[in-house]
């Protein structure tokens, strides 16, 4: 173990050398200490200071809370260096040096460990500070803070008595807020705090600054083994042996006159991404004033006029930091008597729009390459461009007006505006019967609440976490949601919500932002971001260069196909033909077909359906000129096209008892009998998909005819058409063999009639485990595979999605039995293993076979990564997910390169 326990910020090179690497230096100094060192190394002016190492912490804790040999001496030596650098002296009543003492471990543990500010204040130095700043109120506020923090953090006193004193003083002075307390008030409070300190500890508050420093250092060390910190490390998987560093840094003050200032800024505009410094500052003020909103801040551009030299230095530093970190920086700064100090820099948060523009600009500025630009954009940020969001200006205004009343967990993205409904039945009633927009607000949700959640625009709860029922169900159904918003007090008796004493009645309008987790009162304006954003198109264009997976879309109608193509789809991976059957003018013929007693009747009904199907296909083929279109033959069980069994049963029972309409009864009984004849215990596993195609070959023939007639018609108009006919629910190769024979006969017939050769393919969904397990046989007939991961997940898990997602599946995810909802993200060990097997074994039979996915997972970034790993040719997803999938596919390719 090194016997060097303390490094000045300027000694970061030595720390790095001692630790063998920058990673090692981070471990030795902690993240905060290392970063302060790094800024110092970049010659950015950082208030001088030093860091006590994590090794010192471990030595201290390992020796029953005793400083290791030499530590205190090194700390004193470092302090002397700081004094000489700042020209101030620790404990000097004329020009006192004040310092902060902060913890900082290798990995960030926000809020978990301790900080003490203003170390070095006592009655004498306080007087010196008043003389220097002319701001007695500020000095006593700082002083009382030191006493309070010292009591609570260092001496482990309860916070309550301190807060009580402040409250009593507010009442005495008639002050509504702390900001209204004056210098005298804070002075009184400081005195009272010292009394509390003495009564609780038995000792006077330490007036010797060195005692303060020593005790603060020890408190930081001890906080490493505090319960909160241990719990955090257990949860985050951080090793307990790392220890924390303690950084002791000179306090600087922006309220030392008009040559002083304080502010925050980002190196670019983080709403729009424009390349201009953005931020706020105040002359002759302290940092808190900027944040607290007590005084009106000035935009950073005005600092140029106020303090031109300092501004120029500041702008230069920002550029340098950006260049060094190759990323937009978010900084805090203070100017103390004309001297600029950077207190902190970190990578800046930004809106999705800004992220996209900044990434593109950084490529132009040669700070990052195109790969990195693509990797810096998250799929969610692309998704942002495709859904309504709150208008940025409106939202900013609402925040400034205090209309943002709470922040919870952002569990399901998107913006929602509606009237508060406090239970599911009411939410449903208002939505369905009164056509009102509703936000359902509950302490937490249960399976019984799902109907209300479905009817609502968005969901807000006061309890629950990221895997709570509300979160899971909201994500599943794409409803914006904010959960775990613990500031909300929901009063079911009075039908109100209150936050900080502000009361919202049931029926009042609120707005929630599921992307950010924010809750607003009143309606906020929403906008749909611009998908044609040139920066986004550049990023997606680069993504296209890197990705190996094709991105296709699921589309049943020509307009969907067109949209998909606009968004970059390279084919249609799934065109569901049955959706066409449900349309009002077609359903009667579908029902006639199903209920037909003779082949004649069936054929006549199918003849009516043929032109409808053909014209749908024509539209899709035209939209996808030159690209493949996979059309799936009819899939759902036939009873889905008939009236519901339960309503028929009720109707028949009623008519029987009333006994007044024999004709109607007979008709209803006949329909009931037909529906009962088709009723299945487990329709998901029943007569559907290819089973239906084999059972009713007339339907297959009609559909194949419609596809090839449509293809011939558009081909004659010069459209380059590539239909791929897909059989659903195959489980045995012989099903495919039988269907292929039927299909080829019709295809030949149509092509002869039309005198056209159509380049069509014949393939199958792989959505049943047995199909995956026998892929090598199935590939003898199928020219392509498309994974139907919705059904494949249902059968591989033996879980009915309809039943489970509103019941035990939610329990499972809440309890951590399932790490993720397998209907959102492919389960790699079960479903994924089958996909991998089927892909490999299918291609063994048919080398280079086209394999894709058309289940909903095709639009999920984690699943797209798996599809890339399995070597699929493409993913197919909803048109709105196409841009997201393009980016996610690029990420998958780039990450697997690394």
């Amino acid at each position: 173990m090194s016997s060097k326990w303390v490094y000045l910020f300027g000694e970061v090179n030595e720390a790095e050398k001692a630790a063998g690497s920058w990673e090692g230096a981070r471990a030795l100094l902690g993240g905060k200490g290392a970063n302060l060192g790094e800024m110092t190394r970049l010659e950015v002016s950082v208030p001088p200071g030093f860091t006590v190492t994590t090794e010192a912490c471990n030595a201290y804790l390992g020796a029953d809370n005793t400083f290791p040999d030499g530590l205190w001496e090194q700390e004193l030596e470092a302090l002397r260096a700081v004094e000489s650098e700042t020209g101030k002296s620790f404990g000097d009543s004329k020009n006192p040096l004040l310092v902060s003492c902060r913890s900082g471990a290798k990995f960030s543990m926000p809020g978990m460990m301790d900080t003490v500010l203003n170390i070095g204040l006592n009655d004498e130095t306080a007087g010196g500070m008043i003389a220097l700043t002319g701001d007695e109120r500020f000095v006593y506020d700082a002083y009382r803070r030191l006493v309070q923090m010292f009591g609570v953090v260092v001496m482990d006193l309860p916070d309550g008595p301190f807060e009580d004193v402040i409250e009593v003083q507010r009442e005495k002075s008639g002050a509504a807020r702390d900001a209204d307390l004056n210098a005298e008030d804070w002075k009184t409070i400081t005195l009272e705090f010292k009394k509390i300190y003495k009564s609780h500890t038995g000792n006077d508050f330490p007036t010797d600054p060195l005692d303060q420093l020593r005790l603060a250092t020890e408190a930081v060390f001890k906080s490493w083994n505090g319960k909160r910190a241990i719990d955090y490390r257990n949860a985050a998987g951080i090793e307990h042996s790392l220890g924390t560093g303690a950084s002791i840094q000179t306090m600087v003050f922006g309220n030392m006159g008009n040559d002083s200032a304080t502010g925050v800024a980002t190196s670019r505009n983080i709403s729009t991404g424009e390349n201009e410094i953005e931020g706020d500052y105040l002359l002759n003020a302290q940092g808190e004033d900027v944040v607290a909103g007590i005084r009106d801040t000035k935009p950073i551009a005005e600092l140029k006029a106020d303090l031109p030299k300092e501004y120029a230095e500041f702008a230069g530093i920002l550029r340098r930091l950006e260049k060094h970190y190759r990323e937009v920086q978010d900084v805090e700064f203070t100017i103390e008597r004309g001297k600029l100090w950077l207190l902190q820099t970190r990578d800046s948060k930004r809106t999705a729009q800004a992220a996209v523009r900044i990434a593109a600009d950084l490529v132009d500025e040669k700070l990052i390459d195109k790969k990195e630009a693509v990797l810096r954009i998250s799929p969610d940020q692309v998704d942002f461009f495709l859904h309504p969001q709150f208008d940025v200006i409106a939202k900013k205004a609402a925040i400034n007006n205090g209309r943002r009343i709470a922040i919870g967990l952002n569990v399901s993205p998107g913006a929602a505006v509606g009237q508060v409904a406090l239970d599911a039945d009411l939410a449903e009633k208002w939505s369905k019967e009164e056509d009102r927009k509703v936000i359902m607000v509950r302490p937490e949700t249960k399976p019984d609440d799902v109907h209300g959640m479905l009817a609502a625009e968005g969901i807000l709860t006061s309890k629950g976490g990221r895997t709570s029922h509300a979160a899971l169900v909201a994500r599943q159904f794409g409803k914006p949601a904010v959960v775990g918003c613990s500031e909300l007090i929901i009063d079911m008796e009075n039908r109100t919500i209150s936050v900080d004493g502000r009361v919202i009645n049931e029926g009042d309008w609120i707005s929630i932002d599921g992307t950010e987790g924010e809750v607003f009162v009143d309606k906020l304006d929403t906008v749909i971001p611009d998908f044609s954003d040139p920066y986004l198109l550049r990023i997606l264009g680069w993504a296209d260069e890197f990705r190996k997976l094709g991105v296709w879309a699921n589309a049943d109608y020509p307009q969907d196909a067109q949209r998909a193509r606009d968004y970059g789809a390279e084919g249609i991976g799934l065109c569901r033909t049955e959706h066409m059957f449900f349309e009002a003018e077609r359903l009667p013929y579908v029902q006639k077909m199903i209920l037909s007693q003779t082949e004649e009747e069936e054929r006549s009904a199918l003849d009516k359906l043929l032109p409808f199907q053909r014209s749908d296909f024509e539209g899709i083929f035209r939209a996808m000129d030159g690209l493949p279109v996979i059309i799936r033959l009819i899939d759902p069980p036939l009873h889905e096209f008939l009236p519901s069994h339960d309503s028929l049963l009720v109707e028949v029972t009623e008519l029987r008892i009333r006994g007044d309409d024999a004709d109607k009864l007979a008709k209803a009984e006949k329909m009931l009998a037909a529906v009962e004849g088709m009723r299945e215990t487990n329709p998901m596993l029943g007569l559907r998909g290819v089973r239906l195609g084999i059972h009713m070959p007339g339907v297959t023939k009609m559909q194949v005819r419609a596809i090839l007639e449509a293809a011939s018609i558009v081909a004659k108009d010069g459209v380059d058409v590539h239909p791929e006919i897909m059989i659903p629910l195959t489980s045995h190769v012989n099903e495919l063999k039988v269907q292929q024979a039927t299909l080829e006969a019709v295809a030949k017939e149509v092509m002869a009639e039309q005198d056209m050769e159509i380049d069509y393919k014949f393939g199958t969904m792989i959505e049943i485990p047995r199909a995956a397990l026998t892929a090598s046989e199935i590939a003898e007939y199928a020219e392509f595979f498309s994974f139907g991961t919705n059904d494949l997940t249902q059968t591989t898990f033996g879980i009915s999605r309809d039943d489970a997602e509103a019941s035990f599946l939610v329990e499972y995810i809440e309890q951590g039995i399932l790490p993720e909802n397998p209907f959102e993200t492919i389960d790699p060990d079960g479903v994924g293993r089958l996909m991998q097997m089927a892909t490999n074994e299918g291609r063994k039979t048919r080398p280079g076979m086209e394999v894709g996915i058309c289940g909903e997972h095709g639009g999920d970034p984690k699943s797209i990564k798996l599809c890339h790993e399995y070597g699929l040719n493409y993913v197919s997803c909803s048109p709105f997910r196409v841009p997201v999938a393009r980016l996610a596919a690029a990420h998958a390719a780039l990450e697997s390169e690394a």
Copy 2:
């Protein structure tokens, strides 16, 4: 190609040498020729003759139907050898040699190719035969047969005109049957036949016996390429290049005086297996007389008195044949003037009882070893001992009395007696409402008929084959069935069945034997064969020596467990606990538990159920003292324990309209709401199995407590108890992890309370594809696996058994899309592959882990073979299948040795 085209029967050694092996000789001579040669080689007196080789046939067909060089000369030479051996001459009017000419290929193609008998007859030789036999009627009957067969077989004439002649003659003579026609009639018919021959062929019937022989040989060759024969070979997968042999054999006659006789016999009693010759014969008669039943035959024992020397020779030959073939023989013989001729020998058919005794006896006689004895018994034969069958005596009497009216396909074994019902609704009504036993008789069955089939004792159809709907459904539900009984004429208008003019009215009693495919009028007595048959027990004992698989049983009640143990079960592989819940006194508590609103209510209901469960388990543990008992925790969805949704919906609708009983309505509405709350779209994939155990941990705890309390109680009585607790429907290892924790806590608690250590195991069903795919993880928690192949088949195929077996699955098997019903026999490529993976990967994690099967497949011999191949430890099946499984497991082991 050899230039030797003809082999005398006595030249079989040369043929074998020329062909290089006995297999080669069979290919060269055809099966019939080779067998006649083999009998000759055994010095059994076979009527002399020779075989024209298959090579000759191929040469003939290959040369545009021209005899190859030397063939005819060799045939003539062989004929001369036969003449010299028999002392008869071909064409000699005094002592004429008559021969038959029969086809015979390497593989048996029964009824597919041609035979011509009595070659050598013409007007002169007929006169000679009359002089020799003194039986003019017989000779003219033989003569007209030659003309008819020659016309139809050799010259390809239609059979109609010949049959018309016989009918005209019957009318003329007032003869009811052919048997009533006299010598003069047959003489007239012979003349008429020759006229037909001439008018159709333009030539006279050939009177030269050598012409007859030559043409007959050619006819046999040509028949190889007849449509029937080609179709048969295509269906049976026999190569078309093999060709057929032609065997020319001396005709012998048992009607040449009282030193002549003819008969059939088996070398042992094939009903009982006793070691005594059994058969029938007639003195001075021809073979047909024995079969036709015109004259009363004598039991073979009397031949000893009638013809003692010949009998002794006959008995000696039978012993010799048995020894040679190491199998009971079924022979035809003729004694012509004191000379015994064997016409045919083949392995004898026998009853199951006889098969078992014969196999055991042959071991004692050292003709076969124990392995072969075990292999000679089929699983069906063991099954025979466990189900009612027709009494052998009663059945023989019925056959002799002409009460066996038809024979169809034996598609589902067992005996059934009932009243004819001609439609499904009537079958159900009679059975359910009037408690009558019913045989449902239909031309064929359809899915609509299933309710009637279920209500019936047995099923009989006039159409359909082994994979018809009726056959599949009957087998599935274990109903005896005979299908494709084309003699039956079903008259739905008059509600009758008729066979050969005999009319059976609806409601009349009939009996069907699904094991043999027989249909009887009236009731036949049934018996349950004796499972304690000592021969069977010996065979099963030997089977136990050879098998590697354990045989366990599925049993829910103590009496079932006891029966299973009596039948040889070595453990209980599946004890379903929920069956116990359905019993009348328990169901109310189960419903209370399900509908409980508070934990208190739930616990109180569970407390009531605990003693019931405990006492069930006690009984099973006592019955299985020393053996493992696997108990599966509750599996079915809860709504199965509640009233049906539809009946509640009807009740509520009725009560609402009537409006006269508000209390009852409220109660019914409450129950309906509860049932609707639990209703699932696909209950098979819903809240059941381990999902229920996790959702309602109270049930798991109660069940585990009941198991361990029961185990402790019986252990205190000295019972050696080995409970294995099994979790159903696992799909993710975490489910098991959670359940194991719950279970271990309860187990520790109970064992502490009882102060006992119970040797229990914790394991899981593997019945979901994902469980099989992640077996290596699951084996970290599970100490044993048991394949639930019913559910595993449902999920692997994505087929709901309830829905499919009465609908498309039957279509699939009928159409050959599925080679077998996967719910009867494990699908090796899908389900079997998962089983193999899970076994291997599970044991990689937990070496030597116990793996078994408890789905219905555990009692299916083909599936047992697969389980043996996969390396399972045991199969578990219904107690009644245990003996079958013991044998099948031995077969699997012995076959895999080979």
